[in-house]
Symmetry: C2
Subunit: 458 residues, 2 copies
């Protein structure tokens, strides 16, 4: 009996129109990755389980897709282990491989394995799918692409400056102008925690501070107190509550607040260096702003922290983010490899471009010329014409069978073809072909012996 087909929840089929739009984004991103000197690598879809497990916390481990060993996988399981019927302890006996969960851990593994071939500093980009056994929901998938650019083996702040420029270049090219690139520094967050004496409450503090616009000073003070942050700490942090104005003004407030924290001062210094350089170099369309509440993956980053918000007016979370980390590869035995990287959120960028109608108009023109098929002899002449057009890089086709013209025209309309070519019996006798402009509705006659005239007109 025939099966009614379906696909696993949280996965997607991509139609031609969707693939073309996704590739448009990838191509723009890749182009700028390359002009910025990044080089592509690719890693296998599955890694040895021990490469991945234990790198993303307990929750992450749970969300990693494990691959069942091949063949008679139970033959290697001792009866003692088997009789327990415990999923957790059985898994490591019957599964040795797992689908990659992100691109960062495979990249770290790659750098360590290939350290002798790599010319450091290594600027790599990687655009590949990752898999997570997350509960599927709107905008969250079990298979999705990540799109990362990282520089490892250099602790120069020039990299941070370049990554801000890279975001600006990509989003400007995608016509996603007026994005906001938020910038923070882990050392500033550490400095704030030090100064207010609430190190272990730092996340609660920044989460509350982030709500300043919404609930005001009274609101965040209340929340901080509820979270166990002392009145004294809140008092000391007061200058942060009125942090506003230009980046330079904010840097002054931060410098004053953090003057007694060595780490905090270093953070202000780094932030100042990046911001001044970017201001001198100029951005094409993005705004770079300090956001001291920005704390993405706090424990991971050690220096700069980036996040790009969707353009004003679009309801969407961040469309990119990243930061500097001091020890990417230590877990695989290679110490002192500092890195800094950013990522682009493909699915969200897609949705934003769709919402703002920013995909190029010509993106849906998958076929430029379609020849109507009037029978074997006519179709052969059409195929001769089409062969010539294709050699000139023009997307062209002959309708495969001589069905009713109406059906063929319907197909042309659905494929959004701008030019339909007619070679019927009469045209063949006269040595002509007629080109119908589907937008304007008018038509033009050319000689079959002079196709280049038509090509030039296209």
């Amino acid at each position: 009996m025939a099966q009614k087909p379906s696909i696993p929840k949280g996965t997607r089929d991509f139609s031609p129109s969707e693939v073309v739009k996704r590739n448009y984004i990838f191509d723009v991103v890749k182009k700028h990755f390359q002009t910025f000197g990044f080089q592509p690598i690719e890693t296998p879809s599955f890694e040895n389980s021990q490469t991945l497990m234990g790198k993303y916390g307990d929750e992450g481990d749970r969300l990693i897709f494990k691959i069942l060993n091949s063949g008679d996988y139970l033959s290697k399981v001792s009866d003692e282990t088997y009789t327990q019927k415990n999923s957790t302890s059985l898994t490591s006996k019957i599964s040795e491989k797992a689908l990659r969960y992100d691109l960062t851990v495979p990249f770290a593994r790659y750098v360590v394995m290939h350290q002798n071939e790599i010319d450091f500093p290594f600027k790599r980009y990687q655009i590949q799918p990752v898999w997570r056994a997350d509960r599927p929901q709107k905008g969250r998938f079990r298979e999705f692409f990540q799109c990362d650019a990282d520089v490892v083996g250099s602790d120069s702040l020039l990299q941070e400056i370049e990554l801000v420029q890279l975001y600006d270049a990509v989003f400007t090219d995608l016509k996603l102008t007026v994005t906001t690139i938020k910038l923070n520094n882990r050392k500033i967050l550490a400095g704030i925690a030090e100064v207010i004496g609430a190190k272990e409450r730092l996340i609660d503090f920044t989460v509350a501070l982030d709500k300043l616009d919404k609930i005001g000073v009274d609101g965040i003070t209340k929340e901080m107190l509820e979270k166990g942050i002392s009145e004294e700490a809140i008092e000391k942090a007061t200058p942060l509550f009125s942090l506003s104005g230009t980046n330079t003004e904010q840097l002054q407030v931060l410098a004053e607040l953090l003057k007694d924290s060595d780490e905090g001062k270093k953070g202000v210094e780094e932030l100042t260096f990046i911001i001044e350089a970017v201001e001198k170099l100029g951005l094409q369309s993005a705004n770079l702003t300090i956001d001291v509440t920005l704390a993405r993956g706090l424990n991971y980053y050690t220096g700069a922290i980036f996040e790009v918000g969707a353009p004003a007016g679009v309801k969407m979370g961040s469309i990119g983010g990243g930061g500097r980390y001091d020890d990417l590869t230590g877990i695989f035995g290679l110490k002192d490899v500092s890195g800094v990287g950013i990522s682009f959120g493909l699915d969200r960028i897609y949705l934003v471009l769709e919402e703002l109608n920013l995909f190029p108009e010509e993106i849906d023109k998958s076929l430029e010329v379609l020849c109507v098929n009037f029978g074997d002899k006519e179709a052969f002449a059409a195929l001769q014409l089409v062969t010539n057009l294709r050699k000139n890089g023009i997307k062209a086709d002959v309708y495969p069978s001589s069905v009713k013209m109406q059906k063929q025209m319907k197909y042309a309309n659905k494929r959004n073809v701008p030019y339909v070519v007619i070679i019927g019996e009469q045209e063949l006798t006269d040595g002509n072909f007629v080109v119908k402009n589907m937008e304007k509705g008018d038509q033009e006659t050319y000689k079959l012996s002079n196709v280049s005239e038509f090509i030039a007109a296209l």
Copy 2:
């Protein structure tokens, strides 16, 4: 303790140089897919197990990678099933998803699921990885890309003609000239079996016939007899033993041999139509030849069968193949969808291009300009220059730290950079930058205020 990292056997990391070369092949193939009117789709990496299982025979089923269910997967297994400790019966209880094994079954599933959105005839291409738990060996991997183009919903032989042209266009563009496109037809094979009265021995017959060049008529006769093909059958098949000469001559021999088989005659007719059309249209560099021993996936194909051999002198199996099939989607409940398709063997094409040194020379130029870093002030001027170059689409970079010039030049050499820019203290004072041509060894001085002069010279 640090782990010594490795990757699962049969999988590969791809270095920047390898990714760039692979993408070069993909890009050429895609370009021609598009000019021939094919549209891209993508399907999920894993499918529901029932979509894949039972489609590739017992051996295929065994080679499909199964994904372990998430969470406490054993809780759904009855004690009765569990206590048997049988890998085969347990698998279906603890695994519901599997990695795709090829692109054809997912495509069939796609066509059935999306039949109401698709405009038939549907010309689709798909370039995605597939996974097989095969024993890894030289040139055989557990993860590899397939690259397929199929037309479904049309039984016109125009498609076969176009697919021959498509092979020719792609391989000519890749400079893989003088490839041989072998063509056969399932109906001719069926006709031969019918005429010689050895239907159930057809594969043995073609396998032996294929050795004609190597072991001669006596050799293949001996082998056929050993395989249980009767003397009478061999006698009837004799005309095939001297099948040579032009396609036209071979078609004449086949027409005579198969004159009593309706199916065989139909096969000769189809082959003749395709070959005559291709000869009239002309190929750019490939040779199209009849090969009656060609029987790829015999049970699958119903009409034309294609295979492309590597160029003469390269020891390598086929670099492409395909054919027509009558019922792609029947297994998922959609009847009467005929299709024809071809595939390109990426890994083998890669090896052939490498062996014949056919990758474009400029492919390894991942960076066009590198600025030496002489310190903060100089590096900032360099970054201004680089910002300008990148806006003009030039791949440019500043070395991230002001280490010894020797080290920076070594990096430039390793990255194969053609132009190294020097902006030291003196250049900064003079408002100049010096461009060193790494191939010729000479250098040129430009004004920092007139970068466009340098851009024009590139």
